[in-house]
Amino acid sequence: MIIKNLLFLFLLVAIISNKALACLSITDDFNNPNPVINANFRFEPDISPFTDCWTGTIKVRSSQNGWRLIATRTGPTASNAEGDPSDNVMASDITLDFSVQNFGMADSNGAILVSPFSSQTNLSSIQYGTFVISGVSKTSNSCSSSNPNYYKVTKRLCLFRDFVFNPGSYEGQVSYILINP
């Protein structure tokens, strides 16, 4: 009876452990976990060059064949900006370009950018829990930050130097979360 119970429990533990080992991981470009990447624009309007851009990357590792990268945005919210609020910097003023690159054994077709992120869009496309990347294959069986198999997600944000923007500070945040659908 005890052996029977133990066998059942070991089976249960094995199933749970397998689930527990299924991992999802986001790191920054230096493989540090829990990345907080600063996107600082500091620009003066000018006639040329036309835009100021900021580029950032995150690395995605998953041991599951099905995964999703979703994003949630707050802001940009103006502080210390004077003038007509319609002339504040808005999410729709900031262009957004995503690109995905596979490294190591990660399948080149395993991470697909979902429309409208498959081409240039703007930051207003990210709202709450917006579906950004559909992952259809795992990167490897490990999510260790030293694992060389990963998808590198590069995002490029640009803001045109327009004289219409009210001078001031604008703050916002974009959170990227890996989920198991």
């Binding site: 533990v13 749970i16 990345p35 000018d46 703050e171």
Partner: protein
């Protein structure tokens, strides 16, 4: 029998505890979230450009305009004009002018003889209420009103010059055109008369 049950329960609790510990330790080891703060600072700026060379705009807020007059013995007045374009995202600014007499001006024209009038124009996305001409430049005056000793206020800027988003910064300008003229007079000596006017955008 009871002892066996107790043993089974003990083992069950022990294994489940180990399992929960194992599970939680693995979950804390992985990270599945990234947060990207987005901080944007828009700073104020003033730009003057030559209206005829607007594509090569720089951020030098001073522009020199050279005036050259050649009085002639004709019936019509001799006139000239120059235009500058202003772009700023500041809601408080002013345009000043200071004149300097250039050497080599052999003609005995007095600045009071040179009629001066300013007009303002805006691009299709410029703000016509961005600034107003200050007295005495809001009507026809003469060149002596622009001092050679100190900057003279010409425009009082009360709003940014851009009225709407302009994806190429092409049509969001506020333009100041100066027209100057001199009437023919036998009193003047033959030759060229030159003066230079420096326009500066300043943020008070």
């Amino acid at each position: 029998m009871i002892r066996k049950k107790h043993t089974t329960s003990f083992l069950f609790v022990l294994i489940v505890s180990c399992c929960v510990f194992f599970l939680s330790s693995n979950l804390t080891a992985i990270s599945n979230q990234a947060t990207v703060p987005l901080n944007i600072t828009v700073q104020g700026k003033l730009i003057i450009t030559d209206a005829e060379n607007d594509t090569n705009a720089g951020d030098n807020p001073t522009l020199n305009v050279n005036l050259k007059l050649v009085p002639d013995l004709v019936n019509s007045t001799v006139s000239g004009s120059s235009s500058i374009r202003i772009r700023t995202n500041l809601n408080s600014w002013k345009l000043t002018a200071q004149r300097s007499n250039l050497s080599g001006s052999e003609v005995n024209i007095d600045p009071q003889d040179v009629s001066l009038s300013f007009t303002t124009q805006v691009g299709s996305k410029g703000n016509p209420n961005a600034a107003k001409l200050l007295s005495p430049f809001n009507k026809i005056t003469d060149l002596s009103q622009i001092s050679t000793n100190n900057p003279t206020d010409i425009l009082a800027g009360q709003s940014k010059t851009s009225l709407d988003r302009d994806p190429k910064n092409k049509d969001n300008w506020f333009q100041l055109t100066s027209n100057y003229s001199v009437s023919p007079d036998f009193f003047y000596e033959i030759g060229e008369w030159n003066t230079s006017v420096s326009y500066s955008l300043v943020s008070p």
